[in-house]
């Protein structure tokens, strides 16, 4: 059996990408984000009960709506490995498949395997994707590959009409994966508008697939999440992110540069220009629509900035292929043709250099992974707390409390259908920042809190040395301390 070189190379890219991820995953026995423990608890719940309905620990007890497809998929592997191992390995394998999908898309558009390989390398090491998916069991590990597989299937079906059933099957699966697949629907709407406004052909199978996929995605999402839609309306898409998180964070162009990388941004922008205005390529319109839809959702505050950057980053990687192809075509008719190899080396060096920041991101992420000390102190407290009272911890550590201590928290960072999340966030922040003992006690009494967890990361977040009102040792007693992390008991 004879393998084409391009397939061997894409396999190598897959292996390198997976090795890169597994190298970091192996460097810590813990998962690298608080939210990963939300996934882990859910996976264990699915394993034992088969469904997700109510979380007794989060927010002191709350209704839970979260897409379960991902957990059922992972649950299959729990027959062979422990849930914590499954959550460390399988998502890394899934997200490592993303460069292959990007390769296929670019190959379909530019019909040049080497440019496609280059784009897939770019896609493998987009900093924001690494930051948000590495060692976190992130649901985006399955969502991103599936959404881009859907785009691939769309473009592929336009060329091979008899393969339409793949697109139909994917359209049914996708809405079960994650609400962010709404991006696909919005992108398709923008795509249709762009095609019509540019007098491009918008008929036949293309129009049918857009109609069908939009209807099916909206319907299934509406049925699955109707409770959340009723509660939050269209804002459900943003996951009920607290107003402060959505509005207060102001992102700059340098953030975009840091999260996406220089190479995809430059090549992608050129690709948009060439594809849209000079060569009027259908596929460029499609991925430009993805970028436009994401920007619109960002403006309307319906999508998290980081998720937006992931989609934009990947779309730009695909569009980079268009820029490179046109560049080499142009090069062939100029005198610079002599330096073609030199230019190829130069472009590859840019790609390789663009990987470097990703290593920084990965190391930084692993540095911020929960430490043994933190886990020890939280577990100790879990054993020590003998009643049903909740533990007050920062929102970004709420899932640590529920997982390691198996105790109720006041707040965590899964806000959808969380009871009074905004009020609770303000209250927790007040306990950490306030000078007033009376105010803090009032809040603690309101939730029946007996223990406060003050970790080093919380101190950094709120820029505090300690709680400001704990001089009164009869009232606030430090009962556990490990490194910079401590627990206070409220005794008054």
């Amino acid at each position: 059996m004879k393998f084409k070189l391009e397939y061997i190379l894409i396999f190598i890219i897959l292996i390198v990408n997976l090795s890169f991820r597994l190298f970091f995953v192996n460097s810590s026995e813990y998962l690298s984000s608080d939210f990963a423990y939300f996934h882990l608890r859910n996976l264990e719940t699915i394993q034992s009960t088969g469904k997700l309905e109510f979380d007794e620990l989060s927010y002191g007890g709350r209704a839970l709506i979260y897409p379960t497809f991902y957990y059922y998929f992972l649950a299959f592997f729990t027959f062979f490995w422990k849930a914590s191992i499954v959550l460390k390995i399988i998502p890394e394998v899934l997200i490592s498949l993303l460069p292959i999908i990007i390769f296929l898309i670019v190959k379909l558009i530019v019909k040049n395997p080497y440019i496609s390989l280059f784009c897939s390398i770019l896609a493998s090491f987009i900093p924001i994707i690494v930051e948000k998916t590495l060692n976190q069991g992130s649901i985006y590990s399955i969502t991103l590959p599936l959404i881009f597989l859907m785009f691939y299937s769309f473009l592929y079906t336009l060329r091979n009409k008899e393969k339409v059933y793949w697109f139909v099957i994917l359209s049914f699966i996708l809405p079960f994966v994650h609400p962010s697949v709404f991006v696909f629907v919005v992108s398709m709407i923008f795509y249709s508008i762009l095609l019509i406004s540019e007098s491009m052909p918008f008929k036949g199978l293309k129009r049918e697939m857009i109609l069908f996929s939009s209807f099916i995605l909206i319907l299934i999402q509406f049925i699955i999440y109707n409770k959340a839609f009723n509660e939050y309306g269209i804002n459900f898409i943003s996951g009920n992110l607290p107003t402060g998180l959505v509005i207060n964070n102001i992102y700059t162009f340098s953030d975009v540069l840091t999260y996406i990388g220089v190479a995809p941004l430059i090549f992608g922008a050129i690709g948009i220009y060439l594809g849209m205005f000079r060569y009027r390529k259908n596929s460029v319109f499609l991925f430009t629509s993805v970028i436009l839809s994401i920007i619109s959702l960002l403006v309307l505050k319906l999508i998290d900035f980081y998720i937006a950057m992931m989609f934009i980053g990947l779309s730009l990687c695909i569009l980079s292929g268009v820029a490179l192809k046109q560049f080499f075509i142009y090069l062939d008719v100029t005198k610079l043709y002599r330096f073609r190899n030199l230019l190829i080396i130069f472009i590859i060096s840019i790609a390789v250099l663009s990987i470097y920041p990703t290593f920084n991101v990965a190391y930084n992420l692993m540095d911020h992974t929960i430490s043994n000390e933190e886990v020890d102190i939280i577990q100790k407290m879990g054993v020590r707390i003998d009643d049903n009272s909740p533990v007050l911890a920062d929102e970004d550590e709420g899932h640590y409390i529920t997982y390691f201590a198996v105790r109720k928290n006041i707040v965590d960072n899964y806000y959808l259908l969380a009871p009074n999340s905004k009020e609770r966030l303000n209250d927790v922040a007040s306990v950490y920042k306030s000078w007033s003992r009376a105010l803090a006690l009032n809040i603690l009494k309101k939730y029946g809190v007996r223990y406060i967890y003050l970790s080093e990361r919380t101190r950094l977040k709120y820029n505090i040395e300690d709680l400001k009102y704990v001089e009164d040792e009869n009232c606030f007693t430090e009962i556990e301390r490990l490194g910079g992390n401590k627990f206070y008991e409220i005794r008054c």
Binding site: K161, V164, Y165, V168, G204, L205, E208, M209, L211, F212, F215, I216, I218, L219, F222, I223, N226, F229, N230, E231, Y232, G233, I234, T243, K422, E423, N426, N442
Partner: protein
């Protein structure tokens, strides 16, 4: 038969869930007023309870209908409040079907439009609550139906139907007139004289209202405070179906090439959409247009030349499922909207304490329930002809967000407040993202003049002491 069953489901489901109450706060207003009229065999001059006393200047149609049928049939007004909307709903469906047949639509388009209309959330809503809305819609459809004929009798019937609308919904009459004018000017100019005659009659009716009840100020109609377009699937208790709306775009596309219809739509749709955002009561009217367009859109999609039969079949099935699922989910939600069992418990408690001269302060959306419990409210949602409602609204908001005792004491004294009532919804509406430790809730917990006398999972009532 099928339509009557469909429309009866929300109330049946609510009863099945063990909740005997009516759906929607308006139902409680009309039940109270009809019971009063039935007991006294006449319309009173003055309502002692609403706005702590106001002239009896309500739309009389629905109250009269409930009270007179109660006297004739002997059924309780609460039972009639559940049955009548369904009967009027079924009649609306029948005449909607007949009206569409007058407009030379294809049978398939008519069937699709009627099906979408029957399952549309706004129509299910108006057929489930005790309110004059369903009659106003029926009369509007009947009016247009008879108007579409050329004979004298049908014209007389059309005049009769149109002229009844203001007695049920004052505001509707105005809008129907505008739509009728747009229709005759653009589509059926031969009927212009007749339309002008109806318009003249309407002017006389409104003149009557102005002379006997007082001037009508548009801003006095209950206005929606939210500026979002209400879509049922996005949580609006009273909104257009998302799938109907999407399909209606395909309908509009189909009609794009019919010049007159296009102009009619371009004029009437923006007016209705804009007004519906402000006045939610107009949603059922907009829903009629959306349903017709959606029906045309659905058939257009069906007849469109599809390249893939697989996609065509699945898409159409998905669309039908969407419309049915959307309606089913809405019906289920309708049984859980206010008043909840907890709120009814609170209302029953109010009914059992104090005396009818007591005033209960709450957000105006709870006003009808307070009156139903036999107590006076400071405000309710019936703003038209309400005494000083703007001042009361301003004072109420100052009270809700008061930060000092002096202001609180003054308000209690000015309005002779005896009880303060909060339910979960109004509490979240007023203080959702605000610091509760600063405003009225803080004083309710800490000021000695307030004492909590009733509390359940959703409702809290405080007694105010002198």
């Amino acid at each position: 038969m099928a339509s009557s069953l469909t429309l009866a489901i929300p109330n049946l489901l609510k009863t099945y869930k063990g909740d005997e109450g009516l759906i929607g706060d308006q139902s409680y207003l009309y039940v109270r007023l009809a019971e009063y009229v039935a007991a006294n065999n006449q319309f009173p001059d003055y309502d002692q309870l609403s706005f702590q006393g106001r002239p009896f200047k309500y739309n009389p149609g629905w109250i009269f209908l409930l009270a007179s049928l109660h006297s004739l049939v002997g059924l309780s007004i609460s039972a009639l409040s559940k049955i009548l909307p369904v009967i009027f709903g079924v009649l609306t469906i029948i005449f909607f079907f007949l009206l569409l047949r007058r407009f030379k639509l294809l049978n398939s388009q008519i069937t699709a439009a009627v099906f979408i209309f029957l399952l549309s959330p706004p129509f299910v809503y108006i057929s489930s609550i005790s309110s004059p809305l369903v009659v106003a819609i029926l009369l509007s459809i009947l009016g247009f139906y008879f108007f579409s004929f050329r004979g004298k009798l049908s014209f007389v019937l059309s005049v009769f139907c149109f002229s009844l609308i203001p007695f049920f919904m004052l505001f509707y009459g105005l809008i129907i007139m505008v739509l009728l004018l747009i229709y005759v000017v653009i589509i059926d100019r031969q009927q212009l004289k007749k339309a002008l005659l109806i318009l003249f009659l309407f002017l006389l009716i409104y003149l009557y209202f102005i002379i006997f009840l007082g001037p009508i100020n548009l801003s006095d109609f209950y206005a929606n405070e939210n500026t979002e377009f209400p879509i049922a699937e996005f949580g609006a208790a009273y909104g257009i179906s998302l799938f109907g709306l999407i399909l209606s775009f395909f309908g509009m596309y189909k009609l794009y090439f019919k010049k007159q219809v296009k102009i009619f739509l371009y004029l009437s749709l923006p007016i209705l959409i804009f007004l519906s955002i402000k006045y939610l009561e107009l949603i059922p009217l907009l829903n009629i247009l959306v349903s017709v367009l959606a029906g045309i859109g659905f058939v257009n999609l069906y007849k469109m030349k599809w390249e893939s039969h697989l996609i065509k079949r699945v898409t159409l099935v998905v669309l039908v499922i969407s419309i049915v699922a959307s309606s089913l989910i809405y019906v289920n939600r309708l049984t859980t909207i206010n008043p909840s069992v907890s709120l009814i418990d609170g209302v029953n408690y109010l009914e059992s304490i104090g005396d009818p001269t007591d005033t209960v302060f709450a957000h105006y959306s709870l006003g009808y329930y307070i009156n139903y419990a036999g107590k006076k409210n400071v405000m309710d949602s019936y703003f038209l002809y309400a005494p000083n409602f703007k001042k009361r609204l301003y004072d109420s908001n100052r009270f809700f967000y008061s930060e000092d005792v002096v202001l609180i004491d003054k308000f209690i004294k000015d309005y002779s407040i005896d009880y303060v009532l909060f339910d979960k919804d109004t509490y979240n509406l007023l203080y959702g993202e605000k610091d509760k430790n600063r405003y009225l809730p803080f004083f309710l917990s800490n000021y000695k003049r307030f004492r909590l006398v009733f509390n359940n999972t959703e409702v809290s009532i405080w007694r105010v002491y002198p």
